[in-house]
Symmetry: none
Subunit: 225 residues, 2 copies
DNA sequence: ACAAAACTGAAGAAAAACTGAATTAAAGTT
DNA sequence: AACTTTAATTCAGTTTTTCTTCAGTTTTGT
């Protein structure tokens, strides 16, 4: 999962960054609204963890920005304020959840999983696409009730594909989602090809359906037809 | 937004009706399953706010009805029951959100907006021209429900044609759109002809209508007559 | 009927994608 | 901390797909 942390309290920010990164998420962080908007303009994230009280404005402004652009990022508001008004304001503008400081990092993690699950429309902790079942909690994948063992990158890739099933995903977008902005892939997608190949093989070993379609010159599409 | 409120508690029903109507929604209400089904049969709504405990049955039945009919209405369940089982049941059958009584009307409103946003974000972006349907998200093209597979140039071309349907498009304009201004095509349009030919063939294979008309000396026109 | 424009199929060139194996890096163990 | 195991990345060679070119054919407007 690719997460942007917007929080000006340095200690908390770094704690979140460390904690969530340990869980194999691609995390980036910043401390101001301006930085956040800059990052959101250039990259796609699955999640934005958004503090309300920021040095250069209220987090709500960012929420408005995302709403106007009709973006897909899930937003969890993090705030010391617990009034009903603030909660409603956040939810009205389009936040997916609201977390009041102080909180346990474990709870943050649980909420991230819950929101992601809800966004993907299904009920329990599983993300399902035909015979493919991804368990978000255990990071396990079952296909036709056979577990397939995936590496980190393969798992993240599959999750991204299933979350975007049916959509064409550009190689650049995929690479960016998996590696963040640190990766400089000047026309070289060898590392991507390599993981794609391995994931594809593992899926094909237990399925006759080639879900992972290549779109020549563009990227990939995960679909059943 | 057109909203149907299904709730047997008179006080709550009228409160919701008043509150949501103030917000420029068209609201109608009823108190029984039977009435709700009658209304849904005759009118289209954007939203159904559905109480579970009704005098003549459980709201879940209505949910099943809607699901079987594959209707587009968003459903928010309203219930005094807060058990995980009930929540899951509702969400599994296809509700979009679940609200536990008692609740603030402001929160109801926030959820309606949130669900609407989620729904409209997920809706696919299609470009349609007669029997030709181009799905921009999936980068697919269906003609009479048959998928035709296009290369990059062909797809871009078709998109440009449909975006400019009925208009005459000069070859130079088309070439510039597909290759940019760096292409030096001094009177030689062979490369264009080649792609035109291929696209035309793929369309003609599944249609009897020759959409792609040549305008001698000028270019092309994409039209159905 | 003529010349210009448009079309066609096939072939070669180019770009993109894939593969297996080797190397390097990271994670996990004792 | 040294060692083992696993995963990620790089690389060179191969295959696939698409793009472009070209020579010959057909259509079009005058």
């Amino acid at each position: 999962m690719k997460i942007l942390i917007v929080e000006d309290e340095q200690g908390l920010r770094e704690n979140m960054l460390t904690y969530l990164s340990e869980d194999n998420n691609i995390c980036e962080s910043c401390a101001t609204l301006a930085d956040a908007i800059a990052k959101l303009a250039s990259y796609n994230y699955d999640f934005v963890l958004l503090d309300i009280g920021l040095p250069d404005g209220e987090g709500f402004e960012l929420l408005n920005f995302l709403k106007k652009e009709i973006r897909g990022e899930a937003v969890i508001i993090i705030s010391a304020r617990n009034s009903l008004d603030d909660r409603l304001k956040g939810l009205n503008i389009g936040a997916d959840d609201y977390l009041v400081k102080p909180f346990h990092l474990a709870e943050l993690k649980a909420r991230i999983v819950a929101v992601f699950r809800r966004k993907s429309t299904n009920s329990n902790n599983n993300l399902v696409f035909n015979e493919i079942v991804v368990n978000l909690i255990g990071r396990t994948v079952f296909i036709n009730d056979v577990e397939i063992i995936l590496t980190r990158k393969e798992y993240d890739m599959l999750l991204y594909f299933i979350a975007n099933k049916g959509k064409v995903i550009a190689k650049t977008a995929l690479a960016e989602h998996l590696w963040g902005d640190e990766m400089d892939m000047h026309d070289n997608f060898d590392f991507l090809y390599s993981h794609i190949k391995n994931l594809r093989k593992k899926i094909l070993d237990v399925t006759s359906n080639d879900y992972l379609k290549s779109i020549y010159g563009i990227g990939y599409k995960f679909t059943d037809r």
